[in-house]
Each structure stands twice: as structure tokens, then as C-alpha cells.
């Protein structure tokens, strides 16, 4: 059977994928930018629009990192506003389960689902570091091992609150004066992290339960996704890595009594489209140069090496020292658990090609996933999906807000011609458009 492709649009974020310095780059903050990209995604009949979250500005060597985009508006508020100007597009918010309470999350996400006619999704993320905790009451007390315990319990309670009304408890009988049945929404729960009780003040939303997205890649994260998520936002965008990940996660579903199509795997990918493959290759190289300036190359190398490398010339050779594991040179982003093989690979490649540090970073990182003419890109995307390297993709454009224009105008029509992507939205809710059971 031919699989149908699922697509999502990621608003450009705060790492160096986003080229803010391009003359075409617009505001990262103005609502008009969010609206433009969401409208582009809806024109392309994408499944959903995705917003990441920030809770602390990144730091390098104790100073706020100033080379990439810094700051962003709060995701649920932006998505509630976008609900007003879109009609079918799913609206996915990344919200931390460590620094929010389940009752608040359930209320805010259910509100978004009601206000959008059933288009809300929650990307459940966790945090444990004291660095982020410095902005919160609860601080960084949560042990790393405990973060998924809390996340899982948090999600379980959020779902319990969403299910706290039965369908017939919302009566709305104006003549009889019966709005709801007494006792609707009553809940109580006691777990390792929460001991709560009361009444949930929102009846079932159009989706019943908003879509759950999970992005963790660890063993714990994969199990969490297999047991609880509807969509995985993965980092395995290449064909081989994608197939391995896909097989691994899908094989975990049966033990939770779930079918393979109940969890959609959507890697984050970057796409470069031009008239011809050769032009696209040139364009992709130009974008990578924009993404990795000399100073950015040094910072990315510092993240890998875990060392202060400011004495190095980015246009010179790679640092001679060994990397350090678990350093705090870079704060507020995911580091490397095992940098040694990566450093060894960088050294080998740099030596083989005569690359400088910057050239090595440009060539070893940030390589776009799909590069080519519209036909080449459409073929590659469809190949990945039909061969079970993915169920679809989260597209991460490098330009705000116009970065998906080419894809929507030139690649989407080809996918539609092949019969592997929708011409129009079949359902009104995100859950139905993703082909998930209600």
C-alpha cells in the first residue's frame, strides 16, 4: 500500500540553522512572521505547525550567546493567536513538563483545542539542569533520572483531566436550565510527583485528547514515545539512520498493545530546492557558509570539545587537545555524551580534504537532508517514507518567514501528483489528518 506522507513546519529556532543575517530574513518575534509561515504551511496542506520552547537564554563561557537568534515569544499564546487565522493546520506547542503543573498544562492545551476546533498538539519535553532551573521556583532540583518519571506522570494526569468529563455530562439544555451534570470533571490523583484533586473546568475538546509529540532519543525517551506518544519528532533524517530508528521504535509498540500506524515518526529535516540539482547543491553550500561563520564554527567546536577554544583560528587547523565530557563551557543546549569518535572523524576528514576548522564544521554539520530540483526532492522524500525511514517530516527552514515558499510551491504539487500527499484536508482535527484514532 502506498503510504501517505505527513508534513510539519518548524518555525526557525535559536540555533545556527536559522540564517538571520540573510537580507531576506524577517523578524523572529513579530506575529506577522508566525502568521506568514503558518499560512504557507496551511496552503501546502501540512499536518501541523511546530513551535519550540525557550526557558533560559543560552550561554557560552558564562556569557549570553549572541551569534544565533536569541529569544522567542511563548508558544501556547502564539498558537492561540494563530488559531484565529488558520482553519485546518495543527498547532503544536513545545511545553516543558518539569516547570509546569499538569493541571495548568491540561487547562491551557484543552483551551487551545477548543479554540482551534481540535488542532492542538503538545510536544512533551523535560528539563533537569540547574541552569534552566534558576528561572523557576522549583529550581533544578529534579534528578536527571527522575525527569521522565515526572514527564510520564504529568502526561498521565493531563490525559486523566482531559478524560474527566464523560460525553453526556455537558448537557447544554437551555430550556431545562441544565448546563452540565453535577460532578462533571471531578478528579483525584496521587503519584510520586503529584497529589492533586478537584474539578477540571473544561469538557472534552474537539479532539478528545490533543496530539502528543515526543522528541527524546534516549532509551527512556523511546519507551516513553512507544507507550504514550502519537508523533515522534526525531533527529534521524538520513535514510539509513531513519530506517534503524523507525524499526526500533515501531517494534516497541506491540508490547503496549499499539498498532504500528498509531505512532507517526517525523524526523526534523532541512531542504534546499532549486531549478536543477546542480544549482541546489551550490545553493546548499552557500546556505551552510551563512550558517557557520568563523565565530559560530568556534562555538560549535567548543560544544563538541567541551573546552574554551577562543585561542584558535577558525580558518586554521582543528584543536589538538582531546575533548572534555560534561563541561559547562556551553549552557542551555544539548551537549555530546561521547565526543571522542566524532572528534576522530572530524580529524580524519579534515586531514583527508585539507579542511580548516570552519570548513570541517561546515562539511560535517548542518548538511541539509534533501537537496535538489523539486523532482529530486519529491522523489527522495517519498522514497524515505515508502521505505519506512519515516512517516513524514518536520521541515526546518533556514529563513524566517519565507523559508518554505519554494517547498510548498514546487515540491508539494509533485507529491500530490504522485498521490502520496493530500490535495486538501480530509478531516477538521489534527488527529484525523494524521490518521490517528480518536
Amino acid at each position: 500500500m502506498t503510504k501517505q506522507i505527513h508534513l510539519a513546519a518548524h518555525f526557525p529556532g535559536v540555533n545556527n540553522t536559522t540564517v538571520w543575517s540573510d537580507p531576506q530574513a524577517g523578524s523572529q518575534i513579530d506575529f506577522s512572521s508566525f502568521r506568514y509561515l503558518a499560512e504557507t504551511a496551511e496552503r501546502g496542506t501540512f499536518d501541523f505547525f511546530f513551535l519550540a520552547e525557550g526557558l533560559r537564554l543560552r550561554e557560552v563561557k558564562g556569557k549570553i550567546h549572541d551569534l544565533d537568534v536569541v529569544g522567542r515569544p511563548e508558544s501556547l499564546t502564539v498558537l492561540s493567536a494563530l488559531a484565529a487565522v488558520t482553519t485546518h493546520l495543527g498547532l503544536a506547542a513545545t511545553v516543558n513538563s518539569t516547570f509546569n503543573e499538569p493541571y495548568e498544562l491540561a487547562k491551557r492545551l484543552s483551551t487551545l483545542d477548543h479554540l482551534s476546533g481540535g488542532r492542538a498538539a503538545w510536544n512533551v519535553v523535560t528539563s533537569w539542569d540547574a541552569f534552566t532551573g534558576e528561572n523557576f521556583r522549583r529550581g533544578g532540583y529534579l534528578d536527571k533520572a527522575d525527569r521522565y518519571v515526572r514527564a510520564q506522570e504529568s502526561l498521565r494526569i493531563v490525559r486523566k483531566l482531559w478524560n474527566s468529563w464523560s460525553e453526556d455530562q455537558l448537557v447544554l439544555d437551555q430550556a431545562a436550565g441544565a448546563f452540565a451534570r453535577e460532578g462533571a470533571g471531578a478528579f483525584a490523583d496521587e503519584g510520586a510527583h503529584f497529589d492533586i484533586r478537584g474539578r477540571f473546568g473544561l469538557p472534552p475538546s474537539p479532539q478528545g485528547r490533543p496530539v502528543i509529540i515526543q522528541a527524546g532519543d534516549s532509551e527512556q525517551g523511546r519507551e516513553f514515545a512507544a507507550s504514550d506518544a502519537d508523533v515522534i519528532f526525531s533527529r534521524h533524517g538520513t535514510f539509513e539512520a531513519g530506517k534503524t530508528f523507525y524499526k526500533d521504535v515501531k517494534s516497541r509498540l506491540s508490547k503496549y498493545g499499539r498498532s504500528e500506524d498509531s505512532l507517526k515518526i517525523m524526523p526534523a529535516v532541512t531542504v534546499v530546492v532549486a531549478d536543477t540539482d546542480d544549482e541546489a547543491i551550490d545553493k546548499a553550500a552557500h546556505i551552510r557558509e551563512q550558517q557557520v561563520s568563523g565565530p559560530t564554527a568556534l562555538v560549535l567546536a567548543e560544544l563538541l570539545w567541551g573546552r574554551d577554544l577562543s585561542a584558535y583560528d577558525p580558518d586554521g587547523p582543528l584543536p589538538a587537545e582531546d575533548p572534555v565530557v560534561g563541561s559547562s563551557v556551553t549552557q542551555g543546549r544539548v551537549g555530546y555524551n561521547d565526543p571522542f569518535p566524532i572528534v576522530a572523524e572530524w580529524r580524519a576528514q579534515a586531514e583527508a580534504h585539507g579542511w580548516s576548522l570552519r570548513q570541517t564544521v561546515i562539511n560535517q554539520q548542518n548538511r541539509q537532508t534533501f537537496i535538489g530540483s523539486p523532482a529530486t526532492v519529491a522523489e527522495a522524500i517519498n522514497h524515505h517514507v515508502q521505505e519506512d525511514a519515516a512517516d513524514g517530516f518536520v521541515l526546518v527552514p533556514h529563513l524566517t518567514p519565507s523559508g518554505l515558499d519554494d517547498f510548498v510551491d514546487r515540491v508539494v504539487p509533485l507529491l500530490r501528483e504522485r498521490g502520496v500527499f493530500r490535495d486538501e484536508y480530509a478531516g477538521t482535527t489534527l488527529r484525523s489528518n494524521l490518521g490517528l484514532q480518536v
Binding site: 528561572n135 523557576f136 430550556a175 453535577e182 473546568g201 473544561l202
Partner: protein
């Protein structure tokens, strides 16, 4: 006179939802609120407040016992309006202050400078129980904490200078980090390092309102820019804020004469405005829009309906200077 309007379910009358003119489902889709806000905006009303509490409304079967999150509702309405101020009620007792300020700043961004909030507390046992993190605290304590939250919110809104985003391609710097500031704020119940994750809102500081329902809230009103007083109270003279009186309004039954008279009386007594609490959004807001506002305009009590600009500008509040501008990080 400043004129505000309260949005609460189908209206403040517990039976408002039962009227034949009301589709009760529209309470949950936000359409009922949207229509009221658009009518209010067209008539030149300055702002709307959205009632909320952390806990659910009382479980009374013949009343509207559901409530959308006010912040989400206000944001949903923002792109479909152009001039009216939007002030959701946000409780600060259990929600992280860092999230509160980021959300209000974002509402200001998505509304193009029309954002604000009614800062409120949760002193009830019911609110404490849905979070389960701590015992309910007396009102005096929660309001004391709320004042710290208002304070740190303003600091965090200032933690980005207006011109912090420089996009200097020649040096590769997106921000000038000398124009970003740690707030390093400590209060008895929380501390925050900063800076905010959200760049400074268009208004500098979104408008902070406090509804004075208790003596403890009156103390906190000293920090507000907009104070909403109950109808029965004497007007305080010591507040350095815009003082509005909340007035129940059901002109579809009573006509507008009495309201006009009442508002003239409030103006004479020195109130800065009136905060109307319509009994029915569907029945009373059209009368307020079509009859009351024109009458007030004839008397020179309110300005032109189509005034644009920021909410602060509309209310005659200046744009606050940034406390950190020019200082060391």
C-alpha cells in the same frame, strides 16, 4: 472616561446562557466572547477583561460551570481585533512567575501593543488542591507574593532593552548582549535569574490591572496601573493609578439612561473610568455599543471610536523607560 468591558461566560447573569439568542457551544469555541469584543471595539470601548481563576467555576448544574483559559482566549481574539485592549485574568499564586511574564509579553507582541493582564491570586483551598504543591495561604500572603510577581514581571520585561536585537552581520552578532540584563531577583517565595526569553514587549510594560475585591488586594493596587473597584466602594485618593469602578450593566432591560447618569456621577466623583459588567454578552453588549457609547460621546465623556495605537497610549499611560538601559549587565 475610560470604558472597559468584562467578558465572563455568557455574561454576569448566571442565567444568561439560557437565552434563545445564545448558542451555549459558542462559549467554548470562543465565538461568543469574540463577537462581544468586536462589538465593543467598533463602539470605541477601550479594553476588555477576561474573567478567570486557576480552579474551575463552581459545580452548579444550572450555571456555566466551564471556563476557557483567559490568556488563550485573549490571544485567540487578538488577530481579529485592531484597537481594543485585551486583559486576561492571570493568577500568580501557583503558576511560575517566569511563565506569567513571558505569556503577557507574548500577548502584547501578538496584539501589536494591546496586551495587559488582571493580576489575581488563588487563596482558595480548591486552587491549592488542583496543584497540590502547597497549602492554601491567607489572602494577605498571596497578595504580598503577587506584588513580587508584578515587580519581577516588569523587571523581566525590561531585561531586554528595546534595541537589544541588532542583527549586525558585520560582526555576526544577533543581539548586543550588553543590552540584555540578568534580573537576579529574590523574594521570600521564589527567585529568578533572567533575562526573559521574550524580547521587550511593544508597550514596554503591558498594562497591569488589579481587581480590588478584598482589603489585601487594595494594598497590591498600589503597584497597578489600572485599578478596578467594586461599585460600592469610596474612591481612594492615594492611588497612583487609573481608577475605574466596576458597574453591573443590563441595559437591554433597564435602558441606558440610568447607566449614563451613573457614569456621569462617577466622572464627577473623580473616577477615571467605568468597567462595565454586562449581564448578557449577546443582549447587553449591543445596547452598550449602539446606545450607551454614543450617549457618552455626545456628552464629551469618551473619545472617538476609531482611535488606534497601543493600549497604554489609549489610556494616557506613557511608555515606561527601561530601568536597565545603559547600566551594566
Amino acid at each position: 472616561m475610560i470604558v472597559g468591558l468584562e467578558i465572563d461566560g455568557a455574561g454576569t447573569d448566571p442565567a444568561a446562557w439560557r437565552g434563545a439568542e445564545v448558542d451555549p457551544r459558542a462559549i467554548l469555541t470562543g465565538e461568543l466572547a469574540l463577537r462581544a469584543v468586536q462589538r465593543a471595539e467598533a463602539a470605541g470601548i477601550d479594553f476588555v477583561t477576561f474573567v478567570d481563576a486557576l480552579e474551575a467555576p463552581d459545580d452548579v448544574p444550572d450555571r456555566v460551570s466551564v471556563r476557557l483559559d483567559a490568556l488563550g482566549l485573549a490571544a485567540r481574539i487578538a488577530p481579529l481585533t485592531e484597537r481594543i485592549g485585551l486583559l486576561p485574568t492571570i493568577t500568580v499564586t501557583h503558576t511560575e512567575p517566569f511563565h506569567v511574564q513571558a505569556s503577557v509579553a507574548t500577548l502584547d507582541h501578538v496584539s501589536g501593543g494591546r496586551g495587559g493582564w488582571v493580576a489575581d491570586v488563588s487563596s482558595s483551598a480548591a486552587a491549592a488542591a488542583v496543584i497540590g504543591r502547597r497549602e492554601p495561604a491567607p489572602a494577605a500572603d498571596t497578595w504580598r507574593e503577587a506584588r513580587y510577581v508584578v515587580d519581577v514581571s516588569r523587571r523581566l520585561w525590561d531585561s531586554w532593552e528595546d534595541d537589544a536585537i541588532i542583527r549586525d552581520a558585520s560582526t555576526g552578532r544577533y543581539v548586543d548582549r550588553e543590552r540584555l540584563h540578568y534580573v537576579t531577583f529574590t523574594s521570600p517565595t521564589f527567585s529568578i535569574k533572567g533575562p526573559s526569553i521574550v524580547p521587550r514587549p511593544p508597550q514596554g510594560h503591558p498594562v497591569t490591572a488589579v481587581r480590588v475585591n478584598t482589603p489585601e488586594a487594595l494594598e497590591a493596587a498600589a503597584d497597578a496601573e489600572l485599578v478596578l473597584l467594586p461599585d460600592s466602594s469610596d474612591l481612594p485618593t492615594q492611588l497612583n493609578a487609573l481608577v475605574l469602578v466596576s458597574v453591573d450593566a443590563r441595559p437591554h432591560l433597564d435602558g441606558v439612561d440610568r447607566l449614563v447618569e451613573r457614569i456621569e456621577g462617577l466622572a464627577a466623583a473623580g473616577a477615571d473610568g467605568v468597567h462595565l459588567r454586562p449581564a448578557s454578552l449577546e443582549l447587553d453588549v449591543p445596547v452598550i455599543a449602539d446606545e450607551l457609547l454614543p450617549r457618552l460621546r455626545e456628552r464629551g465623556l469618551v473619545g472617538a471610536a476609531d482611535r488606534g495605537g497601543s493600549l497604554r497610549g489609549r489610556l494616557g499611560l506613557g511608555r515606561p523607560a527601561n530601568r536597565y538601559a545603559g547600566s551594566e549587565r
